[in-house]
Subunit: 360 residues, 2 copies
DNA sequence: CTGAAAGCGCTAACAC
DNA sequence: GTGTTAGCGCTTTCAG
């Protein structure tokens, strides 16, 4: 299938270019390594604490002192040791974020907007990738909690008892995202997947469809959407929807394969609900390759990635979620909670929209 | 264009569900908060250092002691404070990674595989998003260096003098990725964009094309590919390639717009070289909507996102880069350097491949 | 407005 | 094998 043209995969090995030698060797005044607060203080002729104040609470220091200290900082190239600062102050200025993956743009954009907003407020994000079966969540959590983050963001609302317990013990703000429950561990920014599934069903039913299929990735939230979808169909006495479950995260390939089996089967569906836009994309690719017209011959419903769908397959209808808004709101909520405030609202339902475009 | 169906965007405000109260209140023996090494030591009836050894160097401790200490750790729910550990040992077990964005899967997959590999080795990744104009790189770097990472990964080889200087002063391993130079700051895992551009030109020329266009995002590496591409064309006396530059990161929308202008212009090109697969996708969307056959009427060359292209537009030819391999090799190189080893090779050129699929 | 003393929680050395 | 003694570099009191 794929032929590879002139592949210049040569492996250039450089000469043993000297690596920056690790210890000593430099004309630095200190024994071990980097410049410390005391070094700066000495150079500025003040006490260490004054330097600390210039950095963290300049309003407590005279402008003159500030200038002198800033000068000394610049001359020495001092970079405050946040490990030491965090240890002493019990505030790490670190927020941990646990997501299944960033390889799909689903969470990547949320993480990115979260990171941006938190950076503005002087926080950094420690990223934890739990993987889709989320088996690593417990181990990961320990590694992360060890950094003493000031807050932690989790994807979803299903966590092991161990996770819950450790979270509570850590006594830090927790923001759960991408799902909905009236009783989060602490705070939540998300929406109801069950309801999203129901609305998709309503929408497709209103279009007059009666033969359905679901192509769904094997993850908790996708399962919820599927559940809502099927429940709503059942309420209309439709119980023969075909269901394809593929490993999470869904890919173009698995979406396409599912579609192939679907379309080869007897009584192919009029409408397919996919648990992600990537899967929907795969279904569309297969449908188009068979010359089917969309949505005339087959209605395809995606979930989540609007921009993408909008340009490549205008006929794709999708459920819109503002992924960056999730990150932004999660950041605001987190900052509020770190600040000791109740956290905007305890539960923020960001909602979703069924977006339909002019058919192709 | 986009109509929104029943949008249940209601904002559920929960009651002021009690947040985990911050200080005190618990029956814990300690004054401030979490369990410390000493707490565990007391409970186990050993000295603190023994607990430390059980955790970090169990081979120095008797099995009996290990069991007792492990038991105490479990009972107390002790989570080692890595801030304190890092401060004392001067090893943070943190590796920083600076990338422009993770919203495009370009770097997301690289970051993900890097994170996975480093996690196995007991390191965590501190993610820094520099943004595309990379204006934030300097500020970000200070925030990151303050965490005293054991190593740092940078995207690209173009860095400000300030960045270079701070990096050298930090005296930690540096791995530059996604570009090529025989003289990296310390170590490099990437490939030559200039050469990639040249090969694309060769490939398209070999196909018999003579009228070219470039749709390129406004970033350093894309510019290098463009440069290589144009240089190779010039060597064959083709100097009339049309050039469209769009803001980085490229999107489907900007790709599509560029294509529209391209195809509306006089003497539309036979072949377009896009600086990313997303842009190529946009170009293809526009071309298809005009009923053009691909690659018959228009050859489209993408860059980087193979899986994606493979399924949605079989006719798209692309330059393949194994993004996960970049992350994996960067991780290995990083670990080697942290370990004091020379770092596999100083320069690893992972190469690239021009991948052609059966035309649609 | 600035400083001195004490300690955050852990580990590097050196004893025993 | 295990313990003791000192810090790591910063910030928190509390004085002045």
């Amino acid at each position: 299938m794929a032929r590879s043209a002139p592949a210049p995969s040569r492996r250039k090995t450089a000469d043993g270019k000297s690596a920056p030698e690790r210890p000593g060797g430099h004309a630095s005044s200190r024994s071990s390594g980097s410049v410390t607060l005391s070094d700066v203080a000495k150079l500025a002729g003040v006490s260490p604490i004054t330097v600390s104040r210039v950095l963290n609470r300049p309003e407590l220091v005279t402008q003159d002192t500030i200038d002198i200290v800033r000068e000394a900082i610049a001359r020495t190239g001092y970079v405050p040791n946040l490990l030491a600062g965090g240890l002493a102050s019990r505030r790490s200025r670190l927020v941990a974020a646990l997501v299944p993956t960033i390889a799909s743009s689903m969470f990547a954009e949320t993480v990115e907007s979260l990171t941006d907003r938190l950076a503005e407020a002087g926080y950094q994000v420690l990223l934890g990738l739990s993987g889709y079966p989320a088996v690593r969540e417990d181990d990961l959590l320990d590694a992360i909690l060890g950094r003493r983050p000031d807050g932690i963001l989790l994807t979803g609302i299903k966590h092991s008892p161990a996770t819950r317990q450790r979270l509570l013990a850590a006594r830090i703000p927790v923001v759960e995202i991408w799902d909905y429950t009236p009783t989060p561990i602490d705070t939540l920014v998300g929406f109801s997947h069950d309801e999203a599934g129901r609305e998709v069903a309503d929408y497709l039913l209103a279009k007059g469809h009666r033969r359905f299929a679901v192509v769904s990735a094997d993850d908790d939230r996708a399962a919820l959407r599927q559940k809502g979808f099927l429940a709503e169909l059942a309420a209309r006495d439709i119980t023969d929807a075909r269901i394809f479950t593929v490993p999470a995260p869904g890919t173009l390939g698995t979406g396409r394969e599912s579609a192939a089996r679907l379309l080869d089967g007897e009584a192919p569906p009029e409408a397919v609900f996919c648990s992600s836009d990537i899967l929907a994309q795969g279904v569309l690719a297969e449908a188009l390759s068979r010359g089917l017209s969309i949505p005339g011959d087959l209605a395809v419903m995606g979930f989540g990635d609007l921009d993408f769908a909008a340009h490549t397959f205008p006929a794709l209808t999708t459920v819109r979620i503002d992924r960056r808004a999730v990150g932004r709101l999660a950041a605001e909520t987190m900052l509020a909670r770190i600040d000791g405030r109740p956290g905007i609202e305890t539960v923020i339902d960001i909602g979703f929209q069924v977006i339909e475009r002019a058919s192709a």
